[in-house]
């Protein structure tokens, strides 16, 4: 079956001031797949994922070349509305960052901003999103509690629910489990497998086993370059590039 690609990165380079962080990246991200991005610190993987919804715009002195096609248009095109892009491409961060509000208000924050006022509609969205984030059963009786009363793993799933509430197409995850205990990590990993049915997931992870467990495709970045991009089985069984092999087997760190 031919894949549908949601992102097509073409000859994309990025500089922070005079320092080049991404070099000539060519990378296609397929819809309804989990794409993992691995590589040592400073390899550009976080920069790349933050570029996909233009979070890098927030950093001054960023300059780019090449293009990233999303839905038929370059995301850096003047006609792109960044807010709309970030609605369609949600992001989950390393540390759970719930708002200091109730669980319910956290989830419906996005829909509220987008003008949903009807209480029962908001309740439906909250339930649907919390269910999709595999959190509903744990919080359904305490939706009015402050989000900070949840455990770290629950907070992270709440953040995922918050992203899902605005019905994105893509969910970007920047090391979403690095601050979580192993059990919470496995819950998020299971969740990722469920989410890919409906969404496209791009995940940056330092945990190589995690990449091998949950992703369909794996990209290996090194010093701003995309070294290898292939099926995850191929990358972890027989990578084509020696640098990939050295990294995943821990021969350099």
């Amino acid at each position: 079956m031919a894949k549908t690609y949601i992102y097509d990165t073409k000859k994309f380079s990025l500089w922070y001031g005079s320092k080049q962080a991404l070099k000539d990246i060519d990378l296609k991200i397929a819809a309804n797949e989990v794409t993992a991005i691995i590589g040592p610190s400073g390899c550009g993987k976080s920069t790349y994922i933050k570029t996909l919804n233009r979070m890098v715009d927030l950093i001054p002195s960023v300059r780019t070349e090449g293009e990233i096609i999303y839905d038929g248009r370059d995301i850096f095109d003047k006609t792109i509305r960044v807010e709309e892009l970030r609605t369609r491409v949600g992001m989950v961060f390393q540390k759970p960052n719930p708002f200091p509000k109730s669980i319910f208000e956290n989830v419906v924050y996005g829909p509220r901003i987008h003008g949903v006022r009807n209480r029962s509609e908001l309740e439906d969205i909250a339930e649907r999103s919390l269910r999709a984030a595999a959190l509903w059963d744990e919080v359904k009786d305490r939706l009015k509690d402050n989000a900070y009363s949840l455990s770290g793993g629950q907070q992270q799933r709440l953040c995922i629910a918050r992203v899902l509430a605005v019905e994105p197409e893509v969910v970007l995850m920047d090391e979403p489990t690095s601050a979580l205990d192993p059990l919470s990590t496995l819950k998020i990993e299971d969740l990722v497998q469920e989410l890919k049915e409906k969404y496209t997931i791009v995940i940056v992870t330092h945990n190589m086993q995690q990449a091998s467990r949950i992703s369909d495709m794996t990209a290996f970045f090194l010093l701003g370059e995309l070294i290898e991009f292939d099926n995850t089985e191929k990358i972890f069984r027989q990578p084509a590039d020696k640098r990939t092999e050295d990294y995943i087997t821990g021969r350099f760190g």
């Binding site: 190589m208 086993q209 091998s212 972890f236 069984r237 027989q238 990578p239 092999e245 995943i248 087997t249 821990g250 021969r251 350099f252 760190g253």
Partner: protein
């Protein structure tokens, strides 16, 4: 390579243990050939005893591999290293079993009229032994090219087996009084032929380890 010093040490230990097991297995084949030619019952008994040593080595190596998988979660080349070791020791253990089976047959010849050992059977046993040694050497130096040379030798073993078998069938018809010895001799021949098959497998695991794919036969 500071980051994986423990793992490197474990891999080196694993390779060393496989070589140790390989040496024991090679000795068993060499001794089996000698014991067969010289009807040396003492040597045959030694081979049977050595089989326990080889079984123990297999279990030890298997545990080393399982520990490494559980604790180091090897990937890529390392994963092939550990999995090919796991598979290869099964073949080595089977080779030792067959050397032991041959020894049992040698002990059965005792007290019966000696029948001629066909020249091609000795040749076949020699080729099988050479294949085991060659496959292990290829393992030590990690050479797929060398392993492949020994993989193709199995065809020669199969040819020799057919020749010996036909000769033994002929002898059974012309010398029916000693048919039991000929039947046992056919078993001996079959065991050597199986040893060559397992040596071929060992060589194929070497190719798998180096190239990451199975040799297409």
């Amino acid at each position: 390579m500071v980051t994986r010093r423990t793992f490197e040490k474990e891999l080196a230990d694993l390779h060393e243990m496989i070589v140790r097991m390989g040496v024991e297995v090679e000795n068993s084949i060499t001794d089996a050939i000698t014991a067969l030619i010289e009807q040396d019952n003492e040597l045959a008994n030694k081979i049977i005893e050595r089989d326990d040593v080889i079984d123990d080595l297999e279990i030890t190596i298997e545990e080393m591999c399982l520990d490494m998988i559980a604790r180091q979660q090897p990937v890529a080349r390392d994963l092939r290293d550990v999995t090919s070791a796991l598979k290869l020791i099964t073949d080595l253990e089977r080779i030792a079993d067959h050397a032991s089976d041959i020894s049992s047959k040698i002990l059965m010849f005792e007290g019966k009229k000696r029948v001629m050992i066909h020249y091609d059977l000795i040749t076949l046993a020699g080729v099988a032994k050479e294949m085991v040694r060659g496959a292990l050497d290829a393992y030590v130096i990690r050479s797929a090219e060398m392993a492949e040379k020994f993989i193709v030798m199995d065809d020669r073993v199969d040819e020799l087996y057919d020749k010996v078998k036909n000769e033994l069938i002929h002898l059974m018809s012309v010398d029916p009084g000693n048919i039991e010895q000929y039947v046992e001799m056919l078993f001996v021949c079959k065991y050597f032929e199986r040893i060559a098959d397992h040596a071929q497998n060992v060589a194929e695991w070497v190719v798998f380890f180096v190239q990451g794919k199975h040799q297409l036969s």
